[in-house]
Amino acid sequence: MGIELQNITKKFTGYTALDNISLNVASGELVALLGPSGCGKTTLLRIIAGLELPDSGKIILDSKDTTNLPPRKKNVGFVFQHYALFRRLTVFENVAFGLKVLPFRERPSRSAIQDRVEHLLKLVQMDWAIKRYPSQLSGGQRQRVALARALAVNPKVLLLDEPFSALDAKVRQELRRWLRKLHDEIHVTSIFVTHDQEEALELADRIVVINKGRIEQQGTPQEVYDHPANAFVYNFLGNVNVFHGRIKNGKVSLGTHHVDAPDELKYTEEKPSQAFVRPHEIGISRIRSNQADLAGTIREVRLMGGQIGLNLECEGFEHAIDAEIPRDLYLNLQLAKGEKVFVSLNRVRVFTGDYEI
C-alpha cells in the first residue's frame, strides 16, 4: 500500500506552495515531512488526503491513481493538529463514526462495530474512556482517540498533521515514543508532518526535508543528520553556530581562524562560504592542547539538564559561539562566568554560496 507522488505542484494566489514534488513512500514506512512553517508540508499532506487538489501532478495510492477522488473515497486516515473530534459524540461514537457511515451493504454489524471500537481503544490505551465525551479528556488522550478513529476504517495510509504540536513537552515526548511502538505493531503506511527536528529524527524511518515547496533532502534520520545535503538542512536539523567567511586555496577562514576545506570544495579562486559547527561538537579545555585552539572567555552559563550551555567570546570572532558540554566536564573543569578557556572546533561543515537563514 505504497504512495507515489508525481510532480505535484500547487499554487495559491501570490506564492507557490508546492513546486514539482515527487516522492515515494514504501508500504509500511513511517515518513516525516520536516520543514519550517509555511514550507508547504501541510499542503502536501492535505493533497494526499484529497482535502486540496493539486494544480498538476498525480497521486498514486496503492497503485491506483487517486488524484481526483474526494477525501471520502480515498480511504486515508487523517489526524489533525487540533484533534477535530466530534464534540457531541462520545469516544465510542467518535471511533465508530467511520464504520457507521459506510453504505449499508459494507457496514459491519452492531456487535462487530462494538468489537472493533473496543479493540482500537485498547490499542491506543483509551478503553477506559469509552463513554466519555472529548471535553472530558486531556489533549494527549484526545489525540489518541483521534488516532483510533482514523484507524477504524482500515486506512491504506495514515496521515498525521503536526499531531503532537498542540501538546506540552512531556506528553509530546511520551506520545512520540508510543506512536513509534504502535507503528511497529500495526505497520500502516504513515506520513507525518512536523516542524520539530527532534520529533522527526526520533520517530521516522525516513525524513523528507522540505523548504519553500521543494524537497531539500530525503533519507534515514542518520543520513540526513550526518550528511546534510546543504546549509538549510544542516541548520534546520539542530542548533548551530554559523560562521560567514571565505574559502580560498583549500582553506576556509572563520574570523582570523582557518580550517581545511573539504575535498569537494578545494577551490583555488575565492568564494563566500559558510561554516557550521554544532554546539556539542565544540571542545572546551583549560590548557591549549592544539595549535588551532581558540582562546575564549565564558560570557554566560546555562543549565540545560544533562548538558551545560556556554556562551563564549573568542578572539578574532565577531559573534559569540555557543557550546554544549556534559555536566561532568563542566564540574571537573570548575568553569564559571568570566573565566578563560581554550576552544576547539571538532567538526566543521562548510557550504558555499550565500544562504539566508
Binding site: 477525501p71 473515497k73 486516515g77 487523517f78 489533525f80 457531541r88 457511515v101 459506510l102 476504517v153
Partner: protein, 259 residues
C-alpha cells in the same frame, strides 16, 4: 447582582405583575368565563398555531440563510447580512402595510396567487406570512455564531472517515446546531404569539377566523373591559413564560450530557 435584580424588577417583573393584580379582583368564575369564551379560545388557537407554523418555517429557512452567510463569500454578502436584521428595526406596522399591499387581490403577488385560489389576505396564511417575516432574524442570529464556531477541520475529519456531505450534516453538524436552532425558533415562536402590528393589517380580523389573541386584548380594552383584557393577557403570559421555561430546561439537559 443587586442591580440586576433591581432592574429586572423595575423593567420586567413589576409591570407584568400588574396584569396579575388587575385580574385578581375579578374572581374565579368571571375569569374562567372571560378566558374560555369561544371567541377568545379561537384567538388563542389561531395565535399559537400560526406562530408555530411560522417558527418551523423560520427554523428551516433561517438555518439555510445562516449557512450561506457563514460559509460562502459572494458579492453583496454584507448587504444581505444587514437585510436580515431589518424585521428587528422596521416598525411592524410598516411591514403589515407592505404585506397588505403586495398580497391584496389587486397587489402584484396577490393577483397571481388568487388565480390559484390561494388567499393570503384575510386568512390564517397571511398571518403566518407576517410572522415568518417577524421571526426570521431570531433564528439566523442565534445560529450564525454557533455555525461560525464549527471548525472546518471537523467536517474534513468526517469526510476523511468516509462520510458524505449529508451524513456529515446530519450526524455532526445538526446535533451541534440543534440547541441554537431550538432557541432561535422558540424566540421566533414567542415573538409570533405577541406580534400585533403587522398582523392586524393583513389578517382582516374576522372574529373566530382571523382574530389573534393580542387583538382580542385590544378589542376588550376598546370596550373598556379592562379586567377581561388582563385575564386574556394573563393566560397569554403564563403560556409564553412556561414555554420559555421548558426551553431552558431542555437546553440545560442537553448541555449537561457532554460538558
Amino acid at each position: 447582582m443587586g442591580y440586576t435584580v433591581f432592574y429586572l424588577s423595575a423593567i420586567v417583573i413589576v409591570p407584568l405583575s400588574m396584569i396579575f393584580f388587575n385580574t385578581i379582583p375579578m374572581g374565579w368564575e368571571p375569569f374562567l368565563h372571560a378566558v374560555t369564551a369561544p371567541r377568545v379560545l379561537a384567538s388563542y388557537r389561531l395565535s399559537f398555531s400560526t406562530a408555530l407554523f411560522a417558527a418551523v418555517f423560520d427554523a428551516i429557512v433561517g438555518l439555510l440563510t445562516a449557512w450561506v452567510l457563514v460559509r460562502y463569500r459572494f458579492p453583496g454578502k454584507q448587504f444581505l447580512d444587514a437585510l436580515v436584521d431589518l424585521p428587528f428595526a422596521l416598525p411592524t406596522a410598516v411591514a403589515g402595510i407592505c404585506f397588505a399591499t403586495i398580497y391584496s387581490p389587486v397587489g402584484w403577488l396577490g393577483q397571481t396567487l388568487i388565480k390559484y385560489n390561494i388567499e393570503i389576505i384575510n386568512s390564517p396564511t397571511g398571518i403566518v406570512v407576517a410572522l415568518i417575516f417577524i421571526g426570521f432574524p431570531f433564528v439566523v442570529r442565534t445560529i450564525q455564531p454557533v455555525l461560525e464556531e464549527v471548525e472546518q477541520e471537523i467536517e474534513e475529519a468526517a469526510q476523511c472517515l468516509g462520510a458524505t456531505r449529508w451524513q456529515t450534516f446530519r450526524k455532526i453538524l445538526f446535533p451541534h446546531l440543534f440547541p441554537a436552532l431550538l432557541t432561535g425558533s422558540t424566540l421566533a415562536f414567542a415573538r409570533g404569539i405577541g406580534e400585533y402590528g403587522s398582523v392586524i393589517f393583513i389578517a382582516g380580523n374576522l372574529p373566530m377566523k382571523t382574530e389573534i389573541a393580542p387583538l382580542m386584548i385590544m378589542s376588550k380594552l376598546d370596550q373598556f373591559d379592562y379586567q377581561g383584557a388582563s385575564a386574556v393577557a394573563l393566560v397569554l403570559l403564563v403560556i409564553s413564560f412556561s414555554m420559555l421555561l421548558l426551553l431552558n430546561a431542555i437546553q440545560e439537559w442537553q448541555q449537561k450530557e457532554y460538558r
